[in-house]
């Protein structure tokens, strides 16, 4: 595939992250993400952080979200490269926590209320309506979260974070607990979000190799090295260079299937 693209400014940098609880969970985690530019389109970025269960993915997720402080190191986000603090990046946690005492509409209003760009009440409502249609939530706006299925709640959770105006959205295990059909829809939706804005960046944290890789342009493997305590990034894959990015039919391609199998052994 011949796709022209360039990697421009730095938009995310994790430097020397380590996390120590009673044992060392993470060590020497270093990575960077650059804005990917493709002529003639809004091309966002999608990064996968892949690792087996219990390796420390959720902890890294919380560090990147500014919700917990790492023992050492810093995460810097955005073109300005400021140290991350809670609210700078959108977060879709594994079980899609929402305000159960509020309707879907009200939950979405909470997302937009403190948005980066201030809007009038009328504009806010129009924006919610417009996005709700894209996210297939129009019929559910008056319902409470308890009345929605897992997949629907996840969509509300993603939209709530999109409405905050954050370019970065972290998703913890976005494919777990969903059936195959719903996963396909989430994948489609995530791709849509990633191309809404040039700077939109999704970080998918998952143990589901195939689904994560299929929509990513880069992927990092989080694993333990032999005889060393604490997980670190053991492999960095540039899927664009490998010719495995931005291809809707990727799952059927042989090199992709081989890569998925190869990574399975690394976890």
């Amino acid at each position: 595939m011949t796709t022209t693209y360039t990697k421009e400014e730095l938009i995310l940098k994790a430097e020397n992250i380590s996390l120590q609880y009673d044992k060392l969970i993470l060590r020497d985690v270093n990575f960077e993400m650059h804005n990917i530019v493709r002529p003639g389109m809004h091309q966002g970025q999608v990064l996968s952080l892949i690792g087996r269960s219990g390796i420390g993915k959720t902890q890294l997720f919380k560090i990147m979200a500014g919700l917990i402080q790492p023992t050492t190191g810093t995460v810097k986000v955005g073109v300005e490269q400021q140290p991350v603090k809670a609210g700078d990046v959108g977060v879709v946690p594994q079980n899609y926590i929402l305000f159960n005492h509020r309707t879907i509409m009200q939950n979405l209003e909470q997302g937009i209320a403190n948005a980066r760009v201030k809007k009038s009440a009328k504009e806010q409502e129009e924006m919610i309506k417009e996005y709700a249609a894209h996210f297939d939530l129009t019929d559910h706006l008056k319902k409470y979260p308890m009345q929605l299925s897992g997949g629907q709640r996840q969509r509300v959770s993603i939209l709530q974070q999109v409405l905050t105006g954050n370019h970065f959205i972290l998703l913890d295990e976005p494919f777990s607990g969903l059936d195959a059909l719903v996963i396909d829809r989430v994948v489609e939706l995530l791709l849509k979000v990633s191309t809404l804005d040039e700077l939109n960046t999704l970080v998918i944290i998952s143990h589901d190799i195939e689904n994560s890789l299929a929509i990513s342009d880069s992927a990092f493997v989080l694993a333990k090295e032999k005889d060393k305590e604490g997980a670190t990034i053991t492999q960095k894959l540039d899927l664009i260079q490998m010719g495995l990015a931005w291809d809707p039919e990727i799952r059927t391609k042989k090199p992709f299937i081989e890569l998925v199998n190869q990574i399975k052994y690394m976890l």
Partner: protein, 263 residues
């Protein structure tokens, strides 16, 4: 036959109609046994008590006392829940946390030992009753409310942070608005304690009447059918309130019904 088997095996649910048949027949059985064994004895029979209930509830004497108790309870509950909510919300501010924890421990103080102190501190009988009642209920309310606050999932606070809410907004959204429905549940669960205390504190200042006064007076004259009748009335009122508070919660907070149905 299957129903009979289900009736005695754990983790099975009965159809609603069968459930009520079981309830009613057990009630009838108990009443019948009571009637048989109490006839001729010291304890009044259900029929006698029933007669007494009917006789009592139509008298002005009862109605006055009933409203005296009800008003005292509602006022006491109202004041107590406001004080308890205030203490509980403040417990999230580090400075006030120790105080809130301390209030919880007051459950172990017995009111009887405090009557003297409260008599000195208050100027009349109704003040004495009210302050004892409030002092008695608040620790129970605070205990339940703090438990609810403890149970809140950290992720809900994290969600607020990622939505860029301030700490005060988070307190408002998650703890105050988000748990308001449970305040009703706390009141419902602790209504029993309030209702129990009421009859006790009413005995301290008999001039204002109340169901507690009625009980004490009838006990003194060994008018046991009245004692039992008042007890039954107290029980029924308690159950009715329990029901009303639950219905009110569902009506005010429709989403609570969804949670129940899901289970």
């Amino acid at each position: 036959m299957k129903i009979l088997k289900n009736l005695f095996s754990p983790f099975t649910t009965l159809p609603r109609s069968i459930y009520w048949v079981v309830v009613v027949s057990q009630l009838i059985l108990v009443l019948a046994l009571w009637q048989v064994f109490a006839t001729g004895g010291l304890i009044p029979t259900p029929l006698k008590i029933g007669e007494a209930v009917i006789r009592i509830v139509t008298t002005a004497y009862f109605i006055d006392n009933f409203f005296a108790s009800l008003l005292l309870t509602l006022k006491g509950m109202g004041i107590s829940i406001i004080i308890a909510l205030f203490i509980s919300y403040l417990s999230l501010v580090p400075f006030f946390y120790p105080f809130a924890r301390f209030v919880v421990k007051w459950r172990y103080l017995t009111l009887t030992g405090l009557i003297f102190l409260f008599t000195l501190l208050t100027s009349n009988g109704s003040q004495l009753k009210m302050s004892l009642l409030v002092f008695g209920i608040v620790p129970f309310f605070v205990t339940s409310l703090l438990h609810i606050i403890d149970e809140i999932n950290v992720q809900e606070y994290e969600l607020c942070k990622t939505l860029r809410m301030s700490n005060w907004q988070t307190l408002w959204e998650v703890v105050i608005v988000g748990r308001l429905d449970q305040v009703f549940e706390v009141m419902r669960q602790n209504f029993a304690i309030a209702w129990m205390m009421i009859t006790m504190v009413e005995g301290l200042s008999m001039s204002q009447g109340g169901l507690g006064t009625m009980l004490i007076k009838s006990n003194k004259y060994i008018d046991l059918s009245t004692v039992f009748a008042v007890l039954i009335i107290i029980l029924v009122i308690g159950i009715v309130f329990d029901y009303l508070l639950r219905e009110m919660r569902h009506w005010l907070f429709p989403y609570t019904q969804l949670q129940v149905k899901k289970k």
